[in-house]
Symmetry: C2
Subunit: 235 residues, 2 copies
């Protein structure tokens, strides 16, 4: 964050960045990758040739990639209005893999805007960027005070929140345009945001006599299932 830049790795994500509005400030790649992709590289970008071993030493990933980009973090964007669309709100999610997977699934289900609480893991954490598989280029993600944001939504739009003891999500008729709030991995949705939830929803566990009920679902698994259910009549 110190230099207002982030790192993205791998052929797929770097190509998405090249064709996006993001500004790549430096590109490190193997000579093989540069040779193969010289026709798509913008003129101002002079890639630095590195061996796979050198790339491994600067990579955040276990398996080294042929290419790594240093990218400028864009300026703060104006918050969108949640009306007339489906919006995802992220309340204090901490695991970078979870946030990245949620952004990727959100894009799959046509969600264009994600609003995160200020204490949610940073989208420019390299593990978030990698887990999105490039979806962060097309889904807008904002960080703001979630309580203030929710205050402005009262009476305008349904606000669904994931809870352990809410209504069975498989029996609900979700509204097409609304807000879905996903909470922290262990604490769920913060108490100060609970009063804005208009419908508490639950993904019930399969409880037959031979099964002991497990504690919870992973936050990104729960988010994926709920996004699928909200969209299913339009798919």
């Amino acid at each position: 964050m110190r230099y207002h830049e982030f790192i993205a790795e791998g052929d797929k994500i770097v190509k998405e960045l090249i064709f996006s509005d993001y500004q790549i400030t430096q590109l490190y790649a193997t000579s093989a990758w540069i040779k193969k992709n010289c026709n798509i590289l913008p003129g101002y970008l002079k890639p630095v040739k590195l061996s796979l071993e050198e790339l491994r030493s600067i990579s955040h990933q276990v398996t080294p990639n042929q290419v790594l980009a240093v990218v400028k973090i864009p300026g703060k964007k104006e918050l969108h209005s949640p009306e007339n669309q489906l919006t995802l709100l992220i309340d204090n999610l901490q695991d970078p893999g979870n946030l990245g997977t949620i952004i990727r699934t959100a894009e799959w289900f046509g969600i264009k805007n994600i609003i995160c609480s200020e204490d949610t893991v940073d989208i420019y954490n390299p593990k978030v960027i990698q887990a999105t598989m490039g979806s962060f280029c097309r889904v807008e993600t904002y960080y703001t005070n979630l309580t203030d944001y929710l205050k402005n939504c009262i009476d305008k739009i349904p606000v669904y929140g994931s809870y352990l003891h809410g209504q069975n999500c498989f029996n609900l008729n979700f509204e097409k345009n609304g807000i879905l709030v996903i909470g922290n991995e262990s604490k769920g949705i913060s108490p100060e945001n609970e009063k804005f939830i208009t419908t508490k929803v639950t993904i019930p566990a399969y409880e037959k006599e031979q099964f002991k009920k497990p504690d919870s679902l992973n936050a990104s698994a729960a988010a994926s299932i709920l996004m699928a259910l909200i969209r299913m009549n339009d798919l």
Copy 2:
């Protein structure tokens, strides 16, 4: 693997292990944790007191835990028959977080048996163990030749497989008892197993004119949605 042992960390998972059939060979914990939990520790187990800093140095996780267990890997179990239940088959999945999350979601939806191809990531990889949040204690996971396993299922049971161009999963009436096959993160289900799939299913993306269709869903997100849809009438 050299010592036929694996590592599990954190209060929740270690407690699950203590109350399971797994055999803990060594326990490292802070004195605070030991004091709080001495009443549940089996007599044969003499925990080694470590500071949080020392635990951090032997941990696989970013945030150090109060407790870390070394656990004996159990012997090979006999393969179960897939009839009269829902079974998950994992074909060459590589990401440990994905496998762990899938095991956790499978437990939530009452799946008792998961069969993995021999080239799937090892369940005893510490990242898999952590991502299951303890579900590996209650869901049986087997490694075998998946093609041979599927050969024995022909004409007995429906075999659902996740593909990019199959039937819309939201329009399908899934059978309660069947097999769901989840493929590799980038290559999907292996060609040699494709002929055993009786129904190819797809989670459609939301494609309206303003959306560019993304490439794919994360494997564990797709698995979570499909497990939820198969079980939804029983929840």
